[in-house]
């Protein structure tokens, strides 16, 4: 066993069951991360003092977040024409359920006493109407721009917190490493950096896509989930579900997180099963209560038609505006009599894997969540580049899997081609008229295939690494799948 592993075991002794993590502890975790990183890099016993690392890591994160915020706000303010011309209406960024222009229309209708849900244009959550009611009516544009930029930055920050907290989780801290591996290379601030300055994230934020609010709620739910605050996690998951429906899938891994938290490590087998089941049931009940109370609140304000216009609309896919997903062209071209059947098939393909994937990766529910977010990004009915950006933003959390991934070149190329070709083919089809719908469709197929390839690669990398951890000798032997 290497020195790294010994160190890990020590660390486990300290924080076997961190029920609650205070800010101080979090800072410690951040510092620890950095110290580990430096130790692995130099591989020397003389580490820099922890206090120095803490300051530099914290300030690095702060600088990244501030820079991200300033960049976004500056572009939104000073290049608003450019944004309006090139980004706002881009179908790869804004879908009928996230478009900013539609949100403004909804706010406009609501401010004139017309129900925004009594029409075919507005399909976003009442949460957003409430959030933007005051900024739209009274405050300058700068304020709502700051809300968008702030939401994105907050998402990056929560990702960094997740990265920091992941180090302290028993699922990681208790697991030995593969020989020769260091525990962390990817700093929380790097996780934030990779999310915040991913061009897809940046473009999504500049297009003012409301998917970012859903992202913030989603990552917050995960953060509270792994931290053991199941009540908050359920509420955030319910909010995310109201914002974009598909995060409902995440309640499965979150309830597994709860089950894990609920299980005292020393409990007997029978006792353990019962407490796990209790934890899962309790999480589901909390989620259902949060979702239902939000639903009742919105139904009281906007009538039940809000549901038809938002979540039901997302399920039924009645607006066939192109996006980077599989649904639009299929449901433009499908024969009418098969439409309901295929809508059910497509939606179930995404939703049905919730429980199997969560269960498969039950040892690490956070990884199950990442996989599910990847499934959502590839197979939701109104996907956009913003959905992929969250999935890509979560992958650095599992930096240890990167070297286990076999098809990164293929996946990266497929995604890059998909992302690069979509605007070109859109231009050829819609603006120039020299291409047709098949061009854009082909780009979306490549894009979705790239995501599926990445998803599969990530999942099998996890399983392969688990094997290496359990049987370190597997690295010298032939490994097969059976």
């Amino acid at each position: 066993m290497s020195a790294d592993t010994v160190e890990t075991v020590d660390h486990d002794g300290d924080k076997r069951n961190p029920k609650k993590l205070s800010k101080q502890e979090l800072a410690n975790a951040l510092a620890e991360t950095l110290s580990r990183r430096s130790s692995s890099k130099h591989d020397t016993p003389d580490e820099p003092p922890a206090s120095v690392a803490r300051i530099s890591e914290g300030s690095r994160l702060l600088r990244i977040l501030l820079l991200g915020f300033a960049l976004r706000l500056a572009v939104l303010t000073f290049a608003s024409d450019f944004v309006a011309r090139n980004l706002s209406m881009r179908v790869e960024l804004s879908t009928p359920v996230t478009s900013y222009k539609r949100l403004v229309e909804g706010l406009y209708l609501a401010s004139h006493g017309i129900s925004p849900f009594d029409g075919g244009l507005f399909h976003q959550s009442p949460i957003l109407l409430a959030l933007f009611k005051v900024p739209y009516a009274w405050l300058p544009q700068l304020f709502s721009d700051a809300m968008y930029a702030g939401t994105d930055v907050a998402t990056a920050m929560v990702l960094a917190l997740i990265a920091a907290k992941k180090a302290t989780l028993p699922a990681f801290a208790a697991r030995p490493l593969v020989p020769g591996e260091s525990r962390f290379r990817c700093l929380p601030s790097t996780v934030a950096l990779l999310y915040l300055f991913n061009p897809l994230t940046l473009a999504t934020c500049l297009a003012r896509s409301s998917i970012m609010f859903s992202h913030l709620a989603t990552v917050s739910a995960l953060y509270f989930g792994i931290g053991g605050h199941i009540g908050y996690a359920s509420v955030f998951a319910a909010v995310a579900t109201h914002l974009s429906l598909y995060p409902v899938m995440l309640i499965a891994p979150i309830s597994l997180m709860a089950a894990e938290r609920n299980t005292p490590s020393a409990a007997a087998g029978q006792n353990q099963t019962t407490s796990r089941a209790t934890g899962i049931a309790l999480t589901l009940a909390k989620f259902a209560a949060a979702f239902a109370s939000l639903h009742l609140l919105f139904a009281a304000v906007y009538g039940s038609e809000y549901f038809t216009a938002t979540l039901d609309f997302t399920l039924r896919v009645s607006d066939l505006q192109p996006n980077v997903g599989l649904f639009w062209y299929f449901f433009i071209e499908i024969f009418d009599e098969f439409r309901p059947f295929f809508i059910a098939v497509f939606q179930l393909t995404a939703l049905a894997f919730t429980v199997p994937i969560s269960w498969r990766f039950r040892k690490d529910p956070l990884f199950g969540s990442v996989m599910l977010i990847g499934v959502i990004s590839a197979l939701k009915s109104y996907p956009a580049w913003g959905d992929l950006s969250l999935f890509l933003g979560l992958i650095p959390l599992y930096e240890e899997l990167i070297k286990y991934m076999q098809y990164t070149f293929l996946s990266a190329n497929l995604i890059l081609f998909g992302v690069g070709l979509a605007p070109v083919f859109w231009y050829l089809w819609i603006e120039q008229g020299s291409g047709n719908a098949n061009f854009f469709y082909a780009a979306t197929l490549v894009y979705v295939f790239g995501q599926i390839s990445l998803l599969f690669d990530l999942g099998s990398a996890m399983l392969r690494r688990e094997l290496d951890i359990d049987y370190p000798e597997a690295r010298e032997r032939t490994v097969i799948q059976e």
Binding site: L320, W429, L445, S453, A474, T478
Partner: protein, 561 residues
């Protein structure tokens, strides 16, 4: 108004008796008048406006002159008011002045007030359009909820407080043809055998610049001041056509029968009135032979009225002699132009978004209150928050030139009904006060929707015709004589002011099309990706990694956790 169904119900009951013994009982309770108005236009073309007016009191319950088909339809579907117009060609108000009828938008325009509310009225409306479709051999059966607007302000002048909502269905792509004309003529008591209807020669009527054919059915007090129980049923059929005599080889002297290619027939025997009126605008030096007994001034123009009931006029033909050589296009500006004109254009390019720009011109020297009504189909997703109204002072007579500073104009009232996908069109009604001598521009943007491949019409790349916008305003008769229909009683609203309506042009919306030959390919490709996803994830879920133990004679040894 619930009088009409009751009245027609009684009429229906008595109808069989009336049909069995059609006596000469055209009493004072039922009347029929036919009229042809000939108006040479400043640019050398000629407007012919045929009007066949039926009027009956509800005290007489049988169908004698009144078209039974329509009476029964109105009865069955609880119709209080019905207007139907088929139009082809744009009415060029800048050359020709006021249009002859209130509906002049290209396509088929159906408006009705149907008793009842909610789902019942919607069903009645669908039934009505289907029935009318059968009667007039038109595709009116394609009018359903998705292209029916319920304007609240634009057609409000006929409505009394308890009137049911007006529904307007519009088919902008509807062509008008002889197959619509034949059933239209069939509604007339003499059909085309005698009277003015004998002049309706399809060969000439459809070789035209503008053609509008319609009917309107209204119940209401026939004269102001009459008691309500003596309410009458008014039914009018009209046909307006603008012909160019030059294209028919007619010079400065031609007769009416030469123009329409049919001899002038004697008046319809059951008609109370049968007149041909020739209206000569002051800028046209027109002689009429023979000179009729009756000459008068109408709307500031010389009017020659021929009574076809008189035996001497019935036999002869009417000749029009133009003193000056045929007028060139440049003389167009001389005629008195309507106070308000509207033009609407589509802006933007590409298949994903666009905008509407409507210019409303006020040529009058007074401020005018207007109502702008525009209804776009659901697949043009209107962003009402982008509506901007600017007004410019008019620099010259040219409608296209704008000068002066743009000022923002705020609507005095606005009603906006958002569209529902495949459910209803959007409807925007804006009440504005146009400053005198101004151009007012309304702009708003829309996104173009993407349709299922079955929802595209044949020849999908041509695009969709989008129905015209309608501007309504009250004509001040002290200054502007107003359109022709204002001088007949049917055009008057209850308050006495005549509401003129101006229709804009259609526009063509090009929607992005899918590849219509692709359904099978798309189904297979997409399902392949989906199957790939399913297979890979299923693989991930069900298969474990295991170490191959080569030492034990190639047999595998699984190591599971």
């Amino acid at each position: 108004m619930r009088v009409l169904p009751l009245l027609l119900c009684a009429a229906y009951a008595a109808a069989s008796a009336a049909d069995a013994a059609p006596g000469p009982g055209v009493g004072p309770h039922e009347s029929f008048a036919e009229d042809l108005l000939v108006k040479p236009l400043p640019d050398g073309r000629v407007l012919l406006h045929f009007e066949f007016a039926f009027r009956r009191n509800h005290t007489q319950h049988h169908y004698h002159l009144f078209p039974r088909q329509l009476g029964e339809i109105a009865l069955r579907y609880g119709v209080d008011e019905l207007h139907l117009a088929f139009t082809q060609g744009n009415w060029r108000e800048a050359r020709w002045g006021h249009p002859p009828s209130a509906s002049q938008g290209v396509g088929a325009d159906v408006r009705a007030r149907i008793a009842g509310t909610g789902e019942h009225a919607s069903r009645q409306w669908r039934g009505l359009t289907n029935a009318l479709s059968g009667v007039f051999c038109a595709s009116l059966n394609f009018i359903d909820e998705s292209n029916t607007a319920l304007p609240q302000m634009a057609f409000a002048e006929h409505a009394h407080s308890r009137a049911p909502a007006l529904r307007q269905g519009y088919l902008p792509r509807e062509n008008v043809c002889t197959e619509n004309l034949t059933p239209w003529i069939k509604q007339l008591p003499c059909q085309s055998r005698s009277g003015l209807a004998a002049l309706l020669n399809p060969y000439r009527l459809y070789n035209m610049h503008f053609h509008s054919m319609g009917m309107s059915l209204e119940a209401g007090a026939s004269h102001a001041g009459e008691r309500s129980e003596q309410a009458a049923l008014r039914y009018t059929q009209y046909l307006s056509v603008v012909l160019d005599p030059r294209t028919m080889g007619l010079g400065s002297r031609w007769s009416l029968s030469e123009l329409v290619g049919m001899p002038l027939a004697p008046a319809c025997p059951v008609a109370d009135k049968s007149t041909v009126r020739i209206l000569a605008p002051p800028e046209i030096d027109l002689g009429v032979e023979p000179l009729p007994a009756e000459q008068s001034k109408h709307l500031g123009m010389d009017m020659y009225t021929f009574d076809l009931k008189l035996p001497d006029t019935a036999a002869s033909d009417i000749e029009l002699v133009f003193a000056a050589p045929q007028h060139s296009e440049s003389a167009a500006g001389a005629t008195q132009l309507p106070a308000v004109a509207v033009h609407r254009h589509v802006t933007g390019h590409g298949g994903s978004s666009g905008g509407v720009e409507a210019t409303i011109v006020n040529r009058d020297s007074r401020d005018i209150n207007i109502t702008y009504f525009d209804s776009l189909p659901w697949y043009l997703r209107v962003y009402s928050h982008t509506l901007e109204i600017h007004t410019y002072a008019a620099g010259s007579d040219d409608d296209t030139v704008r000068s002066g500073q743009a000022t923002r104009l705020h609507p005095t009232k606005m009603v906006y009904v958002p569209a529902i996908d495949r459910g209803r069109p959007s409807a925007m009604e804006v009440a504005l006060t146009l400053p005198r001598h101004s151009h007012t521009v309304l702009r708003y943007s829309f996104d173009k929707g993407f349709l299922k491949y079955t929802e595209h019409p044949p020849d999908a790349n041509r695009g969709f015709n989008i129905r015209p916008a309608i501007v309504s305003y009250a004509v001040d008769s002290t200054l502007d004589p107003g359109p022709l229909y204002c001088t007949s009683t049917s055009g008057r609203s209850s308050s006495g002011a005549c509401i003129a309506r101006v229709y804009s042009e259609l526009f063509l919306a090009n929607l992005a099309t899918p590849d219509f030959s692709m359904p099978y390919n798309v189904i297979t490709f997409t399902c392949t990706i989906l199957a790939l996803f399913f297979g890979r994830i299923f693989n991930l879920l069900t298969r474990d990694f295991a170490i191959l133990d080569v030492e034990a004679e190639g047999s595998k040894r699984t190591k599971t956790e």
